[in-house]
Amino acid sequence: MALELGIADAKIILETALLASPAPLGLHDLKRLFNDELGADAIRRLLDELREDWSGRGAELVCVASGWRLQTKAAYQVYLDRLNPEKPPRYSRAVQETLAIIAYRQPVTRGDIERVRGVAVSTQVLKTLEARGWIEVVGQREVPGRPALYATTRTFLDDLGLRSLDELPSLDRVEGLFADQQGGSETSSPA
């Protein structure tokens, strides 16, 4: 059966359908697009050409379980996120305070953090900060149980736009929390 359309027209129609469809288009859909006057092989060739045409652009033609679709490349997500008005999530108070203690008093153990906060620090809080790559274990304190000592990382400084810890806002006017805690850790294992 002769197809009235030229192959260039067919490609444009194919591309337009992919752009217009909210869901991936299977081979069956694409055949219907051409009233079944275009064979599966011809359609596949056109899809290959389209994939080639789109290379080097912000979206790509991919084949997923239910068919073909144009989707934006992950590399452009950072730009698309700027458009998204939704507020980025914030860390809980527990996470923020724990991070503040580690940042300003490093190296500290979980026990140190708990003494300052006055409540237990859940493993989840430390895991969250470790997963983000902002804190790491830099050693153990040589006391019973050999608790891990936490410090902030290079990534933490990079992510907050700081060159060094010295650039953290100073706490000059803040009442110290550690005056006795510092002593506490010193005297935890008296001679």
Binding site: T16, L19, A20, P22, A59, R69, L70, Q71, T72, A74, Q77, L80, D81, P88, R90, Y91, R93, Q96, E97, L99, A100, Y104, Q106, P107, V116, G118, R132, E136, V138, G139, Q140, R141, E142, V143, P144, L149, A151, T152, D159, L160, L162, S164, L165, L168, P169, S170, L171, D172, V174, E175, G176, L177, F178, A179, D180, Q181, S185, E186, S189, A191
Partner: protein, 249 residues
């Protein structure tokens, strides 16, 4: 009288279907027959309208009332047009009784045309669609944001909650010591034992050297590192505090 004005009773459903109401019907009649509103045989129209009203009363009472109102309006206009005009100038100023109906008919006709024009405009999802690419939602897990100021705020919170209110100045210098403590620990974690000089190697700034030295002393004081020297003038080694610390018990 135009044939259209006489609507057989069984055509009532058609009328209701075809016209949006008495104004619509009147407009049709006027346009169709090029009628002047004055030329409408009022008695005939009214009789007809009343017949519809009678039939509509059962099913479409509201609409019946509207047709009735229109019939009344037409009669009123007709009668006012027939009244002899008095010679005084004020009467000449009186509005044409048809004016209000004319205004309404014109406005309705204009809006009908506007509705056709609007319906004719290309419409999304009917005549064209959005051109979109799929955005992989899983690709956009957003990480929480944090500013240095948030840390200060968190610290303030802690301070205000803390029962200990002893004044203590956390200075930049002290902070530096802390950060170098972490740096040294990190280094020792990787190498276990580092020669003292090597630990301070590459630190050209005297202030940094001093702070690093203070950090080392602080680490010793906190029993986090051990310093050893086999003999006088032998290399000094810095290492993490030995695991089986005797004081541990």
């Amino acid at each position: 009288m135009p044939r259209d004005l006489y609507i057989p009773p069984d055509a009532l459903a058609v009328i209701l279907e075809a016209f949006e109401g008495p104004l619509d019907l009147l407009l049709y009649l006027i346009r169709r027959h090029n009628l002047d509103v004055l030329d409408i045989p009022m008695a005939e129209v009214t009789r007809q309208y009343m017949a519809y009203v009678e039939m509509m009363r059962a099913s479409r009472l509201e609409l019946a009332a509207e047709y009735l109102l229109m019939a009344a309006l037409l009669i009123e206009i007709k009668s006012r047009m027939l009244l002899p005009r008095r010679g005084d100038p004020e009467a000449a100023e009186a509005p044409d009784p048809r004016a209000e109906l004319v205004r309404r008919l014109l406005e309705y006709e204009r809006m009908k045309q506007a509705s056709w024009q609007l319906a004719g405009l290309p419409q999304i999802d009917r005549d064209f669609g959005r051109a979109r690419a799929w955005v992989e939602e899983t690709a956009r897990q957003r990480l929480p944001q944090l500013e240095p100021a948030d840390l200060v705020r968190a610290w303030m919170e802690l301070a205000s909650r803390a029962s200990v209110t002893r004044h203590h100045r956390v200075t930049r210098e002290e902070l530096s010591v802390r950060s170098h403590m972490a740096r040294i620990l990190r280094r020792l974690k990787a190498h276990r034992l580092v020669e003292f000089g090597e630990l301070l190697d590459g630190l050209f700034d005297v202030r940094v050297l001093v702070v690093s030295f203070l950090a080392l002393l602080e680490l010793v004081r906190e029993r986090l590192v051990e310093i050893s020297q086999q003999a006088p003038f032998a290399p000094i080694y810095v290492g993490l505090a030995s695991q089986g610390h005797p004081d541990g018990a």
